[in-house]
């Protein structure tokens, strides 16, 4: 065996590690750059504000998909936010340290790993069939609530746990009930972390496709209520690429998706930096 000097192996290792680090950034830049350069040119007001023709035609714009995506975000968040924050309050503030709490924590972690398409099957069986919501935005939204709940719970719980113990004690010492402490002390202090979690979940709604593909029916028509079917932007990309072979339109829709994700990512980052500066800056 060749005996390499420690200095040489160090250099060799360093260059491989740097390559790995730089490669990951290049992969990201390549994907984003490719979709944006190929897709942006096809985005026009006409593309954004006309409905897709649907069926086997790749013609038309993406207006109905934008509307379906917005509906979906609205309904999902309306249910997810109270549910997720409430559940996180329970885990962070009320849950005793016993077997039952550990079981709940464990199921949250397991639920976070269940594949999207399995949530889709579940949503199809319970919301589409058993509860007769049919293929609809509501069925998709409820499925997404199940899918995203563990993520919001974890980020909200983490944010609440980071609130210093003495703040709780001070509130209780002033005669506040536990719930008053939660509402007036813990939630405001944990708000930046919770809002970051919510923004990430909105990103999840925008990016998700598999579980919506089997619960929303994929109609290209403009949704008229939350009980009509529809397709989100992400699902539209799938239909365009797989069924109509309209790859230029798929790229344009993909570019819209990437821009949305980048904006949400930017908001998340700005929020956490802004609040961090605010909370540590004054003292």
């Amino acid at each position: 065996m060749i005996n390499l000097s420690p200095k040489f192996t160090q250099k060799l290792a360093w260059s491989s590690i740097w390559t790995a680090g730089v490669a990951s950034v290049l992969i990201l830049l390549f994907i984003i750059g490719y979709v944006l350069t190929k897709g942006l040119s096809a985005i026009s007001p006409e593309f954004l504000f006309t409905a897709p023709e649907g069926g086997l035609s790749g013609e038309g714009g993406i207006s109905s998909c934008i509307v379906a995506t917005l509906w979906l975000i609205l309904i999902t968040m309306a249910i997810l936010i109270p549910l997720g924050i409430g559940a996180a309050i329970y885990l962070a503030e009320y849950a005793p340290d016993n077997k039952f709490s550990r079981l709940i924590r464990y199921s949250v972690e397991l639920l976070a790993g269940v594949p999207s398409i399995v949530f889709g099957l579940f949503g199809f069986a319970i919301f589409v069939l058993a509860l007769h919501f049919n293929y609809s935005i509501l069925a998709g939204a409820l499925t997404l609530v199940c899918l995203l709940l563990p993520f919001l719970m974890r980020s909200a719980e983490e944010a609440m746990k980071a609130v210093p113990q003495y703040q709780r004690e001070a509130a209780l010492a002033l005669g506040a009930t536990k719930w008053q402490t939660v509402v007036h002390v813990i939630l405001p202090a944990a708000m930046p972390g919770i809002i970051t979690g919510i923004t990430l979940c909105v990103g999840g709604v925008v990016a998700e496709s598999a579980c919506l593909y089997v619960t929303m029916g994929g109609s290209a028509a403009m949704p008229t209520s939350f009980l009509s079917g529809g397709r989100t932007l992400a699902v539209h990309v799938f239909y365009l690429a797989m069924e109509t072979n309209a790859l230029d339109k798929a790229l344009a829709t993909g570019a819209v998706l990437i821009i949305l994700i980048l904006i949400l990512n930017f908001i998340t980052r700005w929020l956490s930096q802004h609040f961090q500066a605010k909370m540590s800056g004054g003292i």
Binding site: T9, Q10, A13, W14, S16, I17, W18, A20, G21, S24, L28, I31, I32, Y34, L83, G86, A87, Y90, E93, Y94, L103, I104, Y106, S107, E109, L110, G113, V114, P115, S116, I117, V118, L121, F122, A125, I126, A130, C146, L149, T177, K178, W179, Q180, V182, V206, A207, E208, A210, Y213, V214, G218, A234, V237, F238, M242, L247, G254, L257, L264, R269
Partner: protein, 284 residues
């Protein structure tokens, strides 16, 4: 309303909310099992699990080829992702200067947020043509294309958990190695990596769980033929893809067989993630 009354009521309400996640998990198991029963009864679990033929028109539903498709694609993806992810984790935890780290880490995190369909689309347009030219046949929709796309998608998971575990190694280990005259790389290789091996194992297992559940990107680049993945240049079909491709047109026993596919996937992922979580907890 007295504030004590509000306090009592809200305690109950958050308790109920807290249990919802557990209930969802139980309901998923119940509903998917319930919808699988017709196929399980009619065909038998053995015929479904070990049947190599999937002909919905002839009521033959064996998922062995898809099981193989999922496993082979996932293993190949891990083999591609591992060196990159581990390199990236070491880079972020030990090597990168802070200002570079502040570029690389958000970039890796952003990879999580990019929609699955965008990965699929880029795979279709860039990767498949290259693979078609390399292999000389077909459209390039293949196990290899799926594995490369999947490798990029699990990169952030494996990287962030591995980085976490490397950072969790007590500083005195590193200082001890330095004091003995080891170079930085020798310290990483002989001290940090062995000390973090449980966490890195957990990272790989949790990455496996994520990879096996990926759906839309796989459907877009793997070709979806329900055949054994005999060559990485040939098409195949994953368990997830089987559900997505056929769900819209399936009825009766066919639909039930798709739920059985989902049941197998669900159990597989629960097993993998339970092991991964256990390893993650014991990493210290």
């Amino acid at each position: 309303m007295s504030r004590y009354f509000v306090d009592r009521v809200s305690r109950r309400v958050v308790y109920i909310f807290g249990v919802v996640a557990f209930l969802i998990l139980v309901f998923i198991a119940i509903f998917i099992l319930k919808e699988s029963l017709p196929a399980l009864k009619e065909l038998g679990i053995v015929n479904i699990l070990f049947g190599a033929k999937w002909y919905p028109s002839k009521d033959t539903f064996g998922i062995l080829t898809m099981l193989a498709g999922s496993v082979v694609t996932t293993l190949l993806a891990l083999a591609i992702a591992m060196p990159l992810a581990l390199g990236c984790a070491i880079f972020l935890a030990e090597v990168a200067p802070p200002h570079i780290r502040n570029i690389v880490r958000p970039a890796v995190e952003l990879l999580v947020g990019i929609p699955s369909v965008v990965y699929g689309l880029v795979g279709m347009l860039i990767l498949c043509p290259v693979i078609a030219r390399l292999s000389g046949t077909g459209s390039g929709s293949s196990v290899l294309a799926a594995a490369v796309v999947l490798a990029i998608m699990v990169l952030p998971t494996i990287t962030s958990i591995s980085e976490d575990s490397l950072r969790a190694v007590p500083a005195r280990y590193k200082e001890g190695a330095f004091a003995l005259g080891a170079t930085h790389w020798q310290t990483i290789h002989h001290v940090l990596l062995p000390a973090a091996r449980r966490g890195i194992t957990a990272a790989v297992i949790l990455g496996t769980g994520k990879a096996i559940g990926e759906t839309m990107a796989m459907v877009m680049v793997i070709g979806n033929s329900p055949i054994f993945p005999a060559s990485i240049f040939r098409p195949a079909r994953t368990l997830t893809g089987n559900i997505a491709v056929e769900m819209a047109s399936a009825t009766g026993i066919h639909e039930s067989a798709l739920f059985t596919t989902g049941l197998v996937l669900f159990i597989l992922v629960l097993l993998i993630n339970s092991i991964g979580l256990l390893a993650y907890r014991r990493r210290a």
